[in-house]
Symmetry: none
Subunit: 218 residues, 4 copies
């Protein structure tokens, strides 16, 4: 088929990035070698340097790829959520803790890049860009929600940085020990977080074993 040559290049890159993520998830960033990656991709040693000039480049491209995929998924989720800000916030929670983003392969990779970001300007810039954009989106949705439903006096910046921290923190926990907290509990906790600011819009957190009367008495 025409174009197969050109596509191979793109395909191999994706294949190798996928293999890189698997390798980081399996062995950790520090013990990730080019040989591991090649093996995980079912290819030969030298091929990695053929598609990515250096290991440095491979790792950075992996981070970029992960970030772009994440942004695309988030954008799509927000589009599907429509104009309702509550739906928008729920969509963010669902994306961040959903089956596509919050996986046993990808989350450890996020952690690895975070840990390296402090001393890698390129990583840090990417992290910053992502976080700022994400915070802004939360900020805007909360602002819209507050305006629509008559909430006043909310510190929108604080709400948004808190939510970002909550998600990051759950990723840490899920990344290290997925069986400890789990995505379900994390999602509920996020709803509870927003319920603290927007009680009428988010289900207040219900105690798991209690029935209807689990609201604060009085």
């Amino acid at each position: 088929m025409a174009g197969s040559r050109a596509n191979v290049k793109h395909l191999r890159r994706e294949q190798l990035i996928e293999a890189t993520m698997k390798t980081i998830a399996r062995f950790g960033y520090a013990r990730t070698t080019m040989a591991h990656v090649a093996q995980a991709a079912g290819l030969s040693q030298g091929i990695v340097n053929f598609y990515f000039k250096t290991k440095e480049a491979l790792l950075y491209e992996t981070f970029v790829h992960l970030a772009q995929e994440y942004e695309a998924l988030l954008e799509r989720a927000l589009e599907r959520a429509g104009s309702d800000p509550v739906a928008g916030l729920v969509a963010m929670i669902e994306t961040d803790l959903g089956r596509e983003v919050c996986t046993p392969t990808k989350i450890p990779v996020w952690l690895a890049f975070w840990a390296e970001s402090r001393c890698r300007p390129k990583y840090r810039d990417l992290y910053r860009k992502l976080t700022e954009q994400y915070s802004r989106q939360v900020h805007d949705l909360c602002g819209k929600l507050a305006a629509q439903r008559g909430y006043e006096g909310l510190d929108l910046e604080m709400i948004s940085i808190g939510f970002v921290a909550l998600i990051d923190g759950f990723w840490v926990s899920i990344g290290i020990a997925p069986d400890a907290v789990g995505r379900e509990k994390a999602r509920k906790a996020c709803h509870a977080y927003f319920a603290g600011f927007f009680p009428a819009e988010f289900t207040p957190m219900l105690a798991p074993t209690v029935g209807e009367e689990n609201r604060r008495a009085g």
Copy 2:
């Protein structure tokens, strides 16, 4: 004097652990070498293997040391807080985001160990133990508070895992880009978090520029 031998040994170990943390904070876990550590400690190459049999051991001991110091500081803070559960929770916030724990050297080391924990059983076990104990403490304090002040129907587990996530998330942010969020904002967000569940005990989050009337209208 008796014990000086043992003391030197202990001192050198602390010195090297300190140097290890500085090195991880500076170069990142993956690029931390024994030579870097020795140099940061102002000692010679081979000395590290003398006090720590292997690099593996050095890094694990560093993690243990960091964890023990943290636990000691937290315990002390909780003791000072006395029996009041609100004071206890505030003490936890203050410890986690305070000058002794939340430093530019230590936080990156926590991130590094988290990132490695997934594929290092010894690290993961330590992380688990710490997190479980911490969660239990939050859980107990919240339970006590709820009982004392008549809050009912709260999902204490959720509150505690949410708080742990919040702290971890702020550590991520502060560890990567300390100037972006900062300890002050993080502390306020923690108070706001608890205010979501215990509105009478924690200052609800006020918008920075607004005065008294910043509660929800109606």
Copy 3:
């Protein structure tokens, strides 16, 4: 047309040999890669191994080609010089230091092959064959000249090896730093060299700014 197949083959080989010389001149022998050569020829990676079984073969063929071209040019020049031995010697100088042989591409290639020749029997044999033949030609011309003009007692072997050394030495200098000595000065020095043995036949070296009286006083 018949032979076009064979012609293409021959053409490509010349093209690749040309590219090899350019590459050696540009990057040096040690850093010459098959990829460089292919790129310099405007062809694809794998093609070089198609026309030359191995890199080894390519380089040797390049040396052979360079040598053959040189021999052909020299032979032609000697033919044009006719039977006069002085004209023959001048033709040799003119060829060795002329526009066709003494170029910024070819001279560095000669140096590269010389440098490699010590430990490459095939190169060394070629060098030997060339040098011996060249020396013999100089020797014969000098012998003829001496016989014709009545020079006696000349050590013809010494004259010829000296001349070979002179040319080789100028190639070294011109190959490394063409702007330092230059072909003109080199040619004059060669004439002066022969004037030392055949003062009546070669212009004795004149000091650049001095006129007629530049012979040794007395």
Copy 4:
């Protein structure tokens, strides 16, 4: 012994430079590997990078060392020669073609560096500096000789560049095939070269098998 530690560093460097020269002489510049050098020095793989940060550095330092040793030997020879310019020129010939400089190990290394010099600015600069200084010394000695013995109208620059070329050319020949020309013949040819300009001071070249009457008739 005190200072042995400090000396080891210097000793090892010399040892490795020596091993580098042997390796270049044996395998050629292009096929010289760090492993070869280490083996030739009787040391382990990694040691070379310990004393010379990179292969590049090792090779350059080797060239520098070779050049410095040469300059020192030449200077010493010139000192011993005293103020007589003829003795000075003879000393240069004797040094360049003598037992200490013109060895089967060193000459191939010179050739290798020359061949690389074209595309290595650092090498080329070193070559230039050496050549210029050497030429100047020849020029000055010839000038002094001409003044003392009443030679007029000599193109001193041409004499000196010719002599440099002659030496370089003999080094090429001796470096590639030591048995072809040999140091003795080369020395005689150098004397003959100077005899062409200073017939009273240098023995004119005698034909090897002829006796007294080997001067030009008439």
